[in-house]
Amino acid sequence: MKQFFTFINKEFLHVLRDRKTLLILFGMPVVQILIFGFALTNEVKNSKIVVVDYAKDVASKEIINKIEASRYFEIDHVLSGTNELEKAFETGKIKMAVIFPENFNSNLLHQNKAQIQIIADASDPNQATTLTNYASSIIADYQSEMNQLNLAPYRIQSQIKMLYNPQLKGAPNFVPGVMALILMLICVMMTAISIVKEKEMGTMEILLVSPFKPILVILSKAVPYLILSTINVASILLLSFFVLELPIKGNLILLFSESILFIITCLTLGIFISVKTDSMQTAMLLSLMGMLLPTLLFSGFMFPVENMPIPLQIFSNIVPAKWYYIIVKRIMIEGLGFAAVWKETLILIGTTIFLLFISLKSFKIRMS
C-alpha cells in the first residue's frame, strides 16, 4: 500500500510539473461551460427575412410591424419584386420571405379574403417549418384581433405549466450535456495518453519488472486525473450556479458521487484504449476524432435519442455520456433523488467493471 501511494505521488508530480497542461486542463472546462451555457440554444429567433410588399397598405404595414416586433424575425430588407428573391436566398443569410399581393387590404375588406405567401429556405427543414409556423400564428393573431374571435361562445382555454425550466432557457439542457461531453473526453484522453506514453518511451517495461502489480501501476496513473476532474466538476457546478444562475435542485452530495463514478468510468475507458494502442498519436486520435462527434450525438442532449433509428438507439446505450447526462439532468435540474437514477448508476458501475476486466486481461497477455 505504501508503494502504491509512492507511485501516485510520482504521477502527481509529473502532472503538477507541467504547468501549461494544468492551466489548459482547468481553464478549458470553465471557458467552455461559460460560452456554451450562454450561447447555445435550440430556439429559433432573430431570423433574417425579406418582405415583398406589393400592397403597401394599412393591413400589410400592420402585419409587417407585428412580424418585426416578434423576437423570431428580423426584417433584413424590403424587396420591390419577387424576381430578386432567388438572389437573396442564395447569398446566404435570408431564411424566409413574406409576400403581400397588390390590393391586400381592399381584398380583405371587400371580398373578406386575402392571401399572403410565405417562402421558406428549407435547406434547414426544421427551421423552415418552425419559421413558417411562427409567421402563420402571428398572422392568425392579427386576424383574430380583427375578428375579435375571443368573444365566441364555447371557449376552451388551456392553462400551460412548464416544469423545471419555465423560461425555456437553453442552459438547463445544455449545461448537463456539455458537462458530460467535457468530462468524458478529457478523462479518456488523459489516461489513454499517460499510459501509452510509458509504452512508447519504453519505460513501461521497467515499471512492469518492478515488484509491483501491473494493475496498481495503471491505477496509480488514473488517480491524479480523478482528483483533477473532481475539481473540474466542482468549478463547473460553481459556475453554473453563480454565473449561469442554474440552481442545483437535487442533493449535491449525490450529484458529486455520481460525477466521481462517471469520471472513474471514463478513466477506465482511457485505460482500455491505452492497452489496445501502441502510440500516443493513435490513442489521441481514437479518443478525440473517434469519440467527439459520437459522444456529442448519442448522449441525447443535442438530438433526442427516441428520434433515431432503432439500431442507433441501441448503440447509444454503450455511450457512457448518455447515462451521465440523464443522471445530471434528473438530479440537478429536476431535483430528483437516488430512486430516479439507480438504473443509470448501475449501468455506469457495470461498464466500469467490464472495461477494467477486459483491459487487465489483454494487458497481461501483451506483456507476457
Binding site: L25, A122, R155, I160, L181, L293
Partner: protein
C-alpha cells in the same frame, strides 16, 4: 525543391507505415459520415403524452383522439392522478400531461367556458415550446369544431380570412439528411486536418528529432511545407470520399459546381492546417497540443452552426463565431450543395478564408522560428 521532395517522401512514408493512423484518417470519417446524420434528427415528433381524463365524456374522448391522431403525440397511458402522471414525467416516460377536468363537457355546454390543464417537461426548452404550440393549436382546432357543431352557421361568412400559402424552397420534401450530411462532412474534414497537423510538429519536438532537422540544411519553409502538403492532400482525399459517401448512402448530389466546392475546400484546408501548425508551435508535448486542439475544435463544432443556428445566439457569440473558420465552411458547403450557389454568392466567404489561411500560416512560421 529536391529537399522538399525528400521531406515529402519521408512524411508520406511515416503516414503510410502506421496502419492504425491511416485507418483512423480514412475509415473513421467515412463510417461517421454514414452513421451520424441518421442520429442527428431534430424533428419534434413522438412527444410522449400522459392523459388524466377526469371526465370520461364523448367530448373528452374526441379531444384525446384528435390529439393522438395528429402525428405529433404518442399516448403512453392514462393516469389516475396528477401525482402519478408527474411520476411518469420524472421517469422520462411522458413529456406532456394533459388533464381534462371533471364535468368538462357539461360545463363547456352550460357555462360556455372550460379549462384544460397542460404540464410540460421543459428541461429542453425548444421541445417544450414546440410541443406546447402543437397541443394548443390542436385544442384550438377542436374548439372551432365544437363551435361549428353547436352554433347554427350563418349563410355567409362575414369575417375576413387571411389565407396563407407557404412553400419550401431548395428542399421541398424537408429532408433533414440533405441538411445534416454536408455539415457533418465539413466537421470531419476539419477534425482530420486540425488534429493531424497539430500533433505532427509536436511529435518531432517530443521525440527530439526536430533538433536534427534544425541542424540540417533544411529551410524552415521547407520543413513547414513538408508537414503541410501531406495532410493537405489527405484532407482533400477525405473530402472526396465524403462526397462519394453522401452520394451513395444519401443520394446527395451537389446542386452547384463540384469544382467550386473543391476550390473552397482547397483553401479552407490551408487555413485549418495553418491553425493546427500554429497550435503545435505553442506546445511542447502532444498532450498539450491535443488539449488545446480539443478546446478549439469543441468551440468550432458547437458554435459553427452545425447543430444550432448562429442567428439565435446572443450578439457576443455571433462575434465569436465570425472568427470560426468552420462556420464559413459549413455555410458554403450547404449553400453550394443544397441551393446551388455560385462563385459570386460565396465570394465573401472565400475571401475571409484566404485571410485566415494567410494569417494563420504566417503566424505559425513566425512563431516556429522564435521557439526553435
Amino acid at each position: 525543391m529536391r529537399i522538399l521532395r525528400f521531406l515529402l517522401i519521408k512524411e508520406f512514408k511515416q503516414i503510410f507505415r502506421n496502419r492504425a493512423i491511416l485507418a483512423i484518417i480514412l475509415a473513421m470519417p467515412v463510417i461517421q459520415l454514414i452513421i451520424l446524420p441518421l442520429a442527428a434528427n431534430y424533428e419534434v415528433k413522438n412527444i410522449n403524452l400522459a392523459v388524466i381524463d377526469n371526465d370520461h365524456s364523448d367530448y373528452s374522448r374526441d379531444l384525446i383522439t384528435k390529439v393522438t391522431s395528429s402525428g405529433y403525440f404518442r399516448l403512453t397511458g392514462y393516469s389516475q392522478s396528477y401525482r402519478k402522471a408527474l411520476h411518469s414525467v420524472e421517469e422520462d416516460k411522458a413529456d406532456i400531461i394533459l388533464e381534462i377536468p371533471k364535468n368538462f363537457e357539461k360545463e363547456l355546454l352550460t357555462e360556455n367556458q372550460q379549462q384544460l390543464f397542460i404540464t410540460i417537461n421543459a428541461v429542453n426548452g425548444t421541445k417544450a415550446g414546440l410541443g406546447g404550440g402543437y397541443i394548443s393549436s390542436i385544442i384550438q382546432e377542436y374548439n372551432n369544431q365544437i363551435r361549428i357543431k353547436n352554433i347554427v352557421p350563418d349563410k355567409f361568412n362575414p369575417m375576413p380570412v387571411i389565407e396563407i400559402t407557404s412553400s419550401n424552397w431548395y428542399n421541398p420534401n424537408l429532408n433533414y439528411q440533405l441538411y445534416m450530411v454536408p455539415g457533418v462532412l465539413a466537421m470531419l474534414v476539419t477534425l482530420v486536418g486540425g488534429f493531424l497537423s497539430a500533433l505532427n510538429i509536436v511529435k518531432e519536438k517530443e521525440g527530439g528529432t526536430i533538433e536534427q532537422i534544425n541542424v540540417s540544411p533544411i529551410k524552415k519553409y521547407h520543413f513547414i511545407l513538408g508537414k503541410l502538403i501531406p495532410f493537405w492532400i489527405l484532407g482533400n482525399v477525405v473530402f472526396g470520399l465524403g462526397l462519394i459517401v453522401s452520394w451513395i448512402f444519401y443520394g446527395i448530389v451537389p446542386l452547384g459546381s463540384i469544382l467550386l466546392l473543391y476550390g473552397f475546400v482547397v483553401l479552407y484546408l490551408l487555413a485549418i492546417l495553418g491553425f493546427g501548425l500554429l497550435v503545435s508551435t505553442f506546445c511542447e508535448t502532444q498532450q498539450q497540443a491535443m488539449l488545446i486542439m480539443f478546446f478549439f475544435i469543441m468551440i468550432f463544432v458547437l458554435m459553427g452552426g452545425l447543430f444550432t443556428s448562429i442567428d439565435s445566439m446572443p450578439e457576443w457569440a455571433k462575434t465569436v463565431s465570425r472568427f470560426n473558420p468552420v462556420s464559413y465552411f459549413i455555410d458554403v458547403i450547404r449553400m453550394v450543395i443544397i441551393k446551388g450557389s455560385t462563385f459570386q454568392d460565396i465570394k465573401p466567404h472565400m475571401l475571409i478564408i484566404i485571410c485566415f489561411a494567410i494569417v494563420l500560416n504566417f503566424a505559425a512560421v513566425l512563431n516556429y522560428r522564435k521557439t526553435s
